[in-house]
């Protein structure tokens, strides 16, 4: 019971902390607009979105990953570090002091540079790996643009016309960091890792971009704020993902929103898999592959190694943020959004409304991060050529097919309803596929076990061979 209470308290604490962060982001944005110049809130957003939110989430992720993997693996997880503060000296505090000890360890370690390494490129590696992923979040809207005491405050750093293209371009820059790190270390294992990383990231760029084309077609834009859309009201219907495919009539809006996941499930799977491969985390961690080639950062120590690690976590946060805004409606509620926006209280106090929806966005982000952690700690690693096969032979054709089908459907029915129907069918198909394979696997399992009760078979009877055949009939969609 106390454990459940602790967890509920922790969840509530996280939500309130996020809400507090969003609220202060809006209020500081207002102050900047008021006392500096028009559009100054974009500058404070750099501070809040990219430094406060992304960095703090990424830092906490170092602990969250260790704790969550521990829960999945029947362990307690980090709980040894203590703070020497009276009253707290005997509490593990959920392992939070471990973040401090990790940072201290990284900072105080010897900064080792291999003798034959190219010093300049060796030092450039971690910077090039870290900086691009850090800059990615600039185009992701983390909340609605609201009116705070008469000033319009945005919750996005930049809204360039090229929107998502900026994201794809900057994301592909990160490969330089890893391949330079691999090459300049003058280490054969690191070189192998760097080569693997560059091959993997370059081949997934194509699938990554292609999987989003369907979405761009549906919403006729590549700008993230336009893709997220704006809530409608009694007179105009919502735009982007705030639009409803079908909705009930009445003041309280209930219905199926045009979220990316509903109209582009195939695109979602492709995007999520491809961007997972870009983060170089398991099951796509062949560049690291610590039991084979140790990884492209094998020669790095101290904070330079820490930069590679933290850039991985920042990528996780950014990926969750981008996925939330592209496929899960960004900061919009699944229902009741229009009703909420129409409330006089929220129309008057824009920053409260913004805080509410901003919190919704970050909750979605946290859930998507959690999904990534679960995937990370469930699957073994792909082999290098299997990663390439998945990218070129499955994701790329699937993405192409998705583009053509989506294009035709958007052309046929611009209200996106046809796309929604096909999307729901696709979701149902994937779910059914996953369920049936599970049932068949369970049958085969029983067969293998039942076999154990037979009399001792002579010679070449093969245990678990039904499972063999079955495992290969898994569909690629079912595997993800």
């Amino acid at each position: 019971m106390s454990r459940i209470l602790t967890m509920l308290f922790a969840m509530a604490f996280i939500i309130f902390a996020v809400a507090g962060g969003v609220a202060s982001a809006y209020l500081v944005g207002y102050l900047a607009e008021e006392y500096l110049f028009e559009g100054a809130s974009r500058l404070t957003n750099i501070l809040f979105l990219m430094l406060v939110f992304v960095m703090i989430t990424a830092t906490l992720l170092t602990l969250a990953e260790r704790k969550w993997s521990a829960f999945m693996q029947d362990r307690v997880g980090p709980n040894r570090a203590r703070l020497a503060i009276p009253g707290l000296s005997n509490r593990s505090l959920g392992g939070i002091p471990h973040i401090i000890t990790d940072v201290l360890k990284m900072l105080t370690k010897e900064d080792f540079v291999p003798g034959q390494a190219n010093r300049f490129l060796f030092n450039l590696g971690p910077i090039l790996a870290f900086a691009p992923v850090f800059a990615l979040f600039a185009v992701v809207p983390a909340g609605p643009s609201v009116n705070v005491f008469g000033k319009t405050v945005d919750m996005v750093v930049a809204t360039p016309d090229f929107g998502m293209l900026y994201l794809l371009a900057i994301a592909s820059l990160a490969v330089y960091g890893t391949s330079l790190a691999g090459w300049s270390s003058n280490n054969k294992f690191a070189l192998l890792g760097g080569v693997r990383a560059s091959a993997q990231m370059i081949s997934y760029e194509v699938a990554l971009g292609l999987s989003l084309v369907g979405l761009f077609l549906a919403f006729s834009s590549v700008q993230l704020p336009a893709l997220v859309g704006e809530v409608g009201n009694a007179l105009v219907s919502g735009t982007g993902q705030a639009k409803y495919l079908w909705r009930t009539d009445g003041t309280f809006d209930l219905g199926l929103p045009a979220w990316g996941i509903f109209i582009q499930p195939l695109g979602f799977i492709g995007f999520f898999v491809a961007s997972f491969a870009e983060t170089k985390r398991a099951p796509f961690d062949a560049p690291e592959g610590e039991s084979e080639i140790i990884g492209y950062f094998v020669e790095y120590s101290g904070m330079k190694f820490g930069m590679f690690m933290i850039s991985e976590f920042v990528e996780v946060v950014v990926l969750a943020g981008v996925t939330a805004s592209l496929f899960f409606g960004g900061h919009h509620l699944p229902f009741g959004g229009e009703w909420l926006a129409a409330q006089p209280f929220f129309q008057e106090h824009g920053w409260v409304y913004g805080t509410l929806l901003g919190t919704v966005f970050w909750i979605k982000v946290i859930l998507l991060i959690w999904v990534q952690l679960v995937i990370r700690w469930t699957f073994p690693r792909f082999r290098y050529d299997q990663i390439q096969n998945l990218g070129w032979k499955i994701l790329l054709p699937a993405g192409l097919a998705n583009v053509f089908i989506s294009g035709a459907l958007v052309l046929w029915d611009p209200s996106l309803r046809a796309l929604g129907v096909v999307g729901l069918l696709e979701i149902g198909f994937v779910v059914a596929l996953t369920m049936t394979t599970g049932a068949k696997a369970a049958d085969a399992h029983d067969a293998a076990h039942g076999h154990g009760h037979d009399a001792h078979g002579h010679g070449h009877d093969a245990h678990g061979l039904p499972a063999h055949a079955d495992a290969h009939s898994h569909s690629p969609a079912g595997a993800h």
């Binding site: 993997s69 999945m72 693996q73 029947d74 362990r75 054969k188 294992f189 070189l191 192998l192 693997r196 398991a282 099951p283 961690d285 062949a286 592959g289 610590e290 039991s291 084979e292 080639i293 140790i294 700690w377 469930t378 699957f379 073994p380 690693r381 792909f382 082999r383 290098y384 050529d385 299997q386 696997a441 399992h445 293998a448 154990g452 001792h456 078979g457 002579h458 010679g459 070449h460 009877d461 093969a462 245990h463 678990g464 061979l465 499972a467 063999h468 079955d470 495992a471 290969h472 898994h474 079912g478 595997a479």
Partner: protein, 419 residues
């Protein structure tokens, strides 16, 4: 070097510039490539124990691999010649350190065969129970490590939980976690502790649950299947030629289990199956080990249920230490104790080869005695050695990522390979 003398003797051979040295046409010059030689080990995350694999790579493909052993060489066979037969026992712990009891009992069985001794029935049961417990720990480690080194950390830790539980039971039985030195020539030195059977049965229940978890995480995991199925393949003929035994051979489809083929101790009384695979690939080796654990659990359950009462060691003061009251109370007891401790067991002159089914295969012992109370020669046929020697045959021409699961599923243990 030789061809550089033949073609153009003036120029020294230089692999870096030769590609541009063709004077006929610059268009014909090709980019010179060199194969990359990397060292996996002696200290590498994927090496069990300390073994060095010199791997020559062309891209990601293994052109040549050369396993190099000797980093754990301890002179086990020579050391045995300087101590009494009983004192060899602690050395045998360190062979396959994951299943020390099987080494202990295998050695004792060979010595008893050399003497021509039949040990009490209860002792035979205890040996079966101990062996199967350690077969479980060995296979758990192997299967868990296979998952771990392919990036799935969870199955490894589930395996470790089961292994720790079994390790606790082993500690209660023998007094040590790893280096058990359990059993003596002629029987056992300790009986099963009070209430131990019940605890073991509980442990086995939990182990079965954990096996299901590992099974669920790995067996039908698409990535795991892709990585293991069809990789590390060896044909049954090749496996036999290389001298493979145990689960690795059975995975090739050869039904050869010493517990079935030439039953020793009381193995013929239990209902269990010899688990046989078909393809000889990593996936089959993994499945065979997984199923063998279930069979081991079955054997232990039966043995615990049917273990008879009775003595645990032969009543022969030339072989077994006399009971303590006799040592302290009678002159015969003191003398027998003194002679046994100082001179050792007087094994009659002769030689013997005896083998038991250890976790990785046939653990064979070739013992020679000259009747002086110390071994004249001890040679152990470690199952890991032939398995490791076949690694180049299996893996050459395959990808480096295949090396890791292959190296895991053949389960070569440094301690027994290098003795």
């Amino acid at each position: 070097m030789a061809d550089s003398h033949n073609t153009d003797a003036q120029k020294p051979h230089n692999p870096d510039t030769d590609g541009f040295a063709h004077e006929e046409s610059e268009l014909e010059s090709h980019f010179q490539t060199k194969n990359m030689v990397i060292n996996m080990g002696p200290s590498h995350p994927a090496t069990h124990g300390t073994v060095r694999l010199k791997v020559e790579l062309e891209g990601e493909t293994i052109v040549k691999i050369d396993p190099e052993i000797g980093f754990l060489h301890r002179g086990f066979q020579k050391s045995c010649e300087n101590v009494t037969w009983t004192q060899c026992l602690p050395y045998t712990d360190r062979l396959n350190y994951l299943s020390a009891m099987m080494n202990n009992f295998g050695f004792l069985n060979a010595v008893e065969k050399l003497i021509g001794l039949e040990i009490p029935e209860r002792a035979q049961y205890i040996r079966v129970i101990g062996s199967e417990l350690h077969r479980l720990t060995d296979h758990l480690t192997c299967v868990g490590a296979t998952g771990l080194e392919m990036g799935g950390f969870a199955p490894f830790l589930y395996g470790m939980e089961a292994r720790e539980l079994i390790q606790d039971r082993v500690t209660e039985l023998t007094g040590a976690r790893l280096t058990t030195s359990f059993g003596r020539v002629g029987g056992m030195n300790r009986d099963l502790p009070e209430g131990w059977s019940e605890k073991v049965k509980k442990t086995l229940d939990r182990t079965e649950e954990l096996l299901l978890e590992m099974d669920g995480l790995l067996t039908r995991n698409r990535i795991f299947v892709d990585r293991t199925k069809g990789t590390g393949v060896i044909s049954a003929e090749d496996a036999i030629d290389y001298g493979w035994t145990g689960p690795a051979l059975r995975a090739c489809g050869v039904d050869h289990d010493l517990r079935k083929v030439q039953p020793y101790w009381v193995y013929d009384r239990f209902d269990f199956e010899s688990v046989v695979g078909q393809h000889g690939d990593n996936y089959d080796r993994y499945l065979v080990r997984l199923e063998e654990m279930r069979q081991s659990i079955k054997i232990i359950r039966q043995a615990l249920d049917t273990i008879p009462a009775g003595p645990i060691i032969v009543d022969d003061w030339r072989i077994a230490l006399p009971p303590k009251p006799e040592v302290y109370g009678t002159i015969e007891g003191v003398m027998a104790h003194f002679k046994l401790v100082m001179e050792g067991i007087q094994v009659p002159p002769g030689e013997v080869y005896d083998a038991t089914e250890a976790s990785n295969g046939e653990l064979g012992w070739y013992l020679v005695s000259d009747g002086r109370g110390r071994p004249y020669k001890v040679h152990v046929r470690a199952p890991g050695f032939p398995v490791l020697s076949a690694l180049p045959h299996i893996i050459q021409g395959k990808m480096i990522a295949d090396l890791v699961p292959t190296f895991d599923t053949i389960n070569m243990i440094g301690g027994e390979v290098e003795q």
